[in-house]
Subunit: 201 residues, 2 copies
DNA sequence: CGTCTATTTGAATGTACTCAAAAGCGGTGG
DNA sequence: CCACCGCTTTTGAGTACATTCAAATAGACG
């Protein structure tokens, strides 16, 4: 039913023929996860690349002190998973948790390799979205190094308003590399600034 | 002369025929840079993807306060450039500086697009190395969030001993997201720890 | 409605930074 | 061959941004 969303996603980079699209569909499966269930888990091989058609997830890892760190947040129309594990087909380090009822269209590693051969455009598609993801990771590193917590939050809010509404501040704070308490303090500070500005007008 | 190094680099992921290899070579050019010259610069479109055959570089950006932040360090047998600018062919934000005499084998964006069509294996190669680079960026974000400055330095030293010898501590500190002074203090602290441990044996 | 989790707030603390100055190192020219 | 210059590294003192811990409040879900 949500196939159209996936088709539109592909169409941003490649023009698939009806045959190619049907071939891809025939190798795809629908999966669904309840709130709190895991799409990937530490120590397990991530066998699927997952396109979210409904719900939201967070991908995180747990450091040696038991602390969770959110690597990625994702909502409808995004691809999600433990990418390093998927491409190497080795056990991964990341958990991907459904933050609510989640539905995906997923392609297994083996099917994807087949599809790369049968539908070369798909190889192009994944090269392009990986390059995009790489570029945005680079921007994120850049952002984490050059900017303080408040600026990082403002940038995030501007870039992903849809995520800010869908996902709890706790996870957003972790994604932004700060404590939940500190994010709360930042938001207060920003409110005060805006109010002060209005008062002085 | 250093073509063999590039061929070996390709061979890590794809098996090229002699014809394919010659085709790639015919679209490649050798470039060289003196110490201090720029391979990419802010505001310019990065027209080439560059494979380093000699020397070392750093890729950095300058934030709004005029501070430099090293995104990437690279030596012989690595690919370098302003990736986001290259893939979009839009003006970039990054400087790539030759830290000493540097030689590269470079392929222009246009030639590369042609080669993707003529040599599908090349599209596979770049998909694979981009995925690798993506995965390593992910690890870097993970590392920056979960670990303090000392642990990040120790991890770096273990992972890239060749780079630690080739490139000044100042740039390494920047790459690791800390001030040069602080890296110096960390190194002293590590020495003291080792000495103390020896003394107590 | 009650419980469980998320968010807010405050106080004390710490990690890493800035600034300034001294010491080390490498290259260049007299 | 040595002296000087510029750049990198080291060291110390003071500071700031962000954290941890604890407690109170608010919100979500059954």
């Amino acid at each position: 039913m949500e196939d159209a969303l996936l088709f539109a996603n592909f169409s941003r980079y490649v023009a698939l023929t009806e045959n190619e699209w049907q071939l891809i569909l025939s190798k795809s499966i629908a999966r669904s996860f309840k709130r709190g269930e895991y799409i990937t888990a530490e120590g397990e091989v991530n066998r699927y690349t997952n396109f979210i058609t409904k719900g939201s997830c967070r991908t995180y890892y747990i450091d040696e002190n038991g602390q969770e760190h959110v690597i990625q947040l994702a909502i409808r129309d995004w691809w999600i998973g433990d990418f390093p594990s998927f491409i190497t087909q080795q056990p991964g380090q990341l958990y991907t948790e459904a933050l609510e009822e989640v539905e995906t269209i997923s392609i297994s590693f083996d099917h994807l390799q087949q599809l790369y051969s049968d539908v070369p455009k798909l190889e192009r598609f994944f090269r392009l979205i990986t390059q995009q993801a790489y570029a945005s990771f680079q921007k994120r590193i850049l952002l984490n190094m050059g900017f303080d917590a408040e600026q990082r939050y403002l940038d995030f809010r501007e870039k992903y308003p849809a995520i800010e509404n869908a996902i709890s501040q706790k996870h957003i704070a972790s994604y932004l590399g700060m404590s939940a308490e500190f994010l709360s303090k930042i938001k207060k500070r920003i409110h005060l600034k805006l109010k002060t500005r209005k008062d002085s007008l």
